[in-house]
Amino acid sequence: MTPGTARWALPASLALLAVLALLPLAIPAFWTANILGRAIVYGIVAMSLTFLATYGGFVSLAQMMIAGTAGYAVAILVPGAVPSILGGVPYALAIPTGLLAATAMGLLVGLISVRTQGIYLLMITLSLGVGVHLFVQANIAWFNGYEGIRNVVGPEILGLPFRDTFVFYYTALATAALLYALVLYLVRTPFGLALQALRDNPRRVSALGYDAPLHRIAAFGVAGFIAGAGGILVTFYNIGISPGTIGLGATVNILVMSVIGGLGHPVGAFIGAVIFTLFDTFAADLYDRDRFNTLVGVVFLAIVLASPDGVLGMARRLRDALAPRPQGRADGIATSRAASAGPPASGNGA
């Protein structure tokens, strides 16, 4: 992240949070829960991928499976779930257990894939995701196979049921905001700086004294925790979890969200999730009911073709075009880029 970006990141993030906090007062409940709320919970899972890809350079396709690990763990433990697998464990205990399970799964995925990079990392994480999906689908005793586990309604918060639109929405929003802040904080700590160093030059990182593989596995653990938090909320949103939640389609959806939103900043995951959710919800109204997926596909293709780095990349280029003279003289990249792109006459006049 350049210093120029850092300057507006905090106020922009707070403004966005304020808008998202006030929006439910102005829009129908359907929009609050099924568009914004849904986008936020899946956006958290997508952010775990964005975190790994942006700061570590690791594109993991196992993140939805890891999210599902937490979702299944909670579904297996909590009372009221149908069928009841273990049951009887209160949410206050089941949720931390789910987060722990997802973190452990993240570490495991990181460990197994530690020697791979690029397309091979994609393949190995995809195989792990699909493998767990198939296992869960075949296993009746623990996961109730194809049917999955229903009626996971979520905890009561301040005496209100989780199914309440506002309880669900504000819990999801608060969780997303906290994890988003965690990511932005973490990348400024020695742990996060070393992770970015690993992305840029693993050989040098080792030569400086870092155990590069261990650092990488730890990053997958953090991403696992984030995905797990998203996975638990996804489970509450769907009032249960089934193998389809962590299948190939769901895995690709997460990837699509991250990519159309744009890698480079965690906010991209949520932008992508909102766009994805809007199209996923309304494409069927706009276009032939049997073929609405074609429209969804074409729109995503258009976004990625127009801007390979997603909506964030589009915004960046727009900003550079509108402000040919950046304010910060330390912002070396932007200065040189704008200087070469902008016409000399306007540069002299400003």
Partner: protein, 253 residues
């Protein structure tokens, strides 16, 4: 001539070799570098100088021989364990963290050989002060907030040295630190190398004799993966074999 006298050398190579398939990049190199010594390694391109550095810092293990650091056998250790034991180096082509600022590059380098590599707390004031100090030492203090990708070649070389110094190495290996530097920057580099603490052991690969010879206590000349001559700078300069190597292959710099 040799500071440290008869005590354990900082670096001892015993019959070290490295083959890549049929190619012997380095073969049977034995070398002792005393504590606090300044050693220059000369030789034509392809002589195996950088490979020798890679064997010492552990980028790949030697296929023959042993590497001893201050008497400890480090032949089988991975690079990060060697770094924690005091091996620091720079690279022929700068290996920097291009997505980070100069300050963050130095902060990463500072933590490498110290505890707290996994720390989730913001870099403490001490780290930031140390980064500032290092940047001043290598004359890039004005650029601390600049993204590394925007640095000039000379500035990248300076940061490269700053990052190697950040680990407070006991053995510092510089791989062609003057490569691509302007005539103005070269004397600055020599001054920087001269200012290094005397207890630091330094090995420099350098084509440019004007930089290598003034700072070197001893010079090792390599050719075809082997050490051909070793001796004090004044003897090396007039050595007929060295002249043959350099004139014969044409000095590229």
């Amino acid at each position: 001539m040799r500071p440290g006298g008869e005590e354990t050398p900082a670096l001892l190579l015993q019959g070290v070799g490295r083959r890549f398939g049929a190619l012997a990049a380095v073969s049977d190199v034995s070398l002792a570098v005393a504590r606090g010594e300044r050693r220059a390694v000369l030789g034509p391109n392809g002589a195996g100088k950088t490979t020798l550095f890679n064997l010492i810092c552990g980028d790949f293990p030697p296929t023959a021989g042993r590497v001893l650091l201050f008497g400890e056998d480090i032949t089988a250790l991975r690079p990060h364990h060697r770094a924690r034991r005091g091996v620091g180096r720079t690279y022929q082509t700068s290996l920097l963290f291009n997505g980070l600022s100069v300050r963050d590059n130095l902060l990463v380098a500072l933590r490498g050989a110290r505890p707290g590599r996994f720390s989730w707390r913001l870099p403490p004031t001490a780290d930031r002060a140390a980064a500032q100090l290092l940047a001043e030492r290598v004359r890039i203090a004005a650029l601390l907030d600049t993204p590394v990708a925007a640095l000039s070649h000379g500035q990248r070389r300076q940061l490269e040295v700053g990052m190697a110094l950040a680990c407070e190495p006991r053995l510092l290996m510089l791989d062609e630190p003057a490569a691509g530097l302007s005539p103005v920057e070269r004397p600055e580099l020599v001054a920087l190398l001269r200012s290094l603490p005397r207890d630091l052991t330094l090995i420099v690969i350098e084509h440019d004799m004007d930089i290598a010879l003034p700072i070197a206590d001893l010079v090792t000349v390599m050719k075809d993966g082997q050490v051909v001559v070793e001796g004090p700078p004044d003897r090396i300069e007039s050595d007929p074999m060295v002249q043959a190597i350099y004139l014969g292959h044409g000095r590229s710099h």
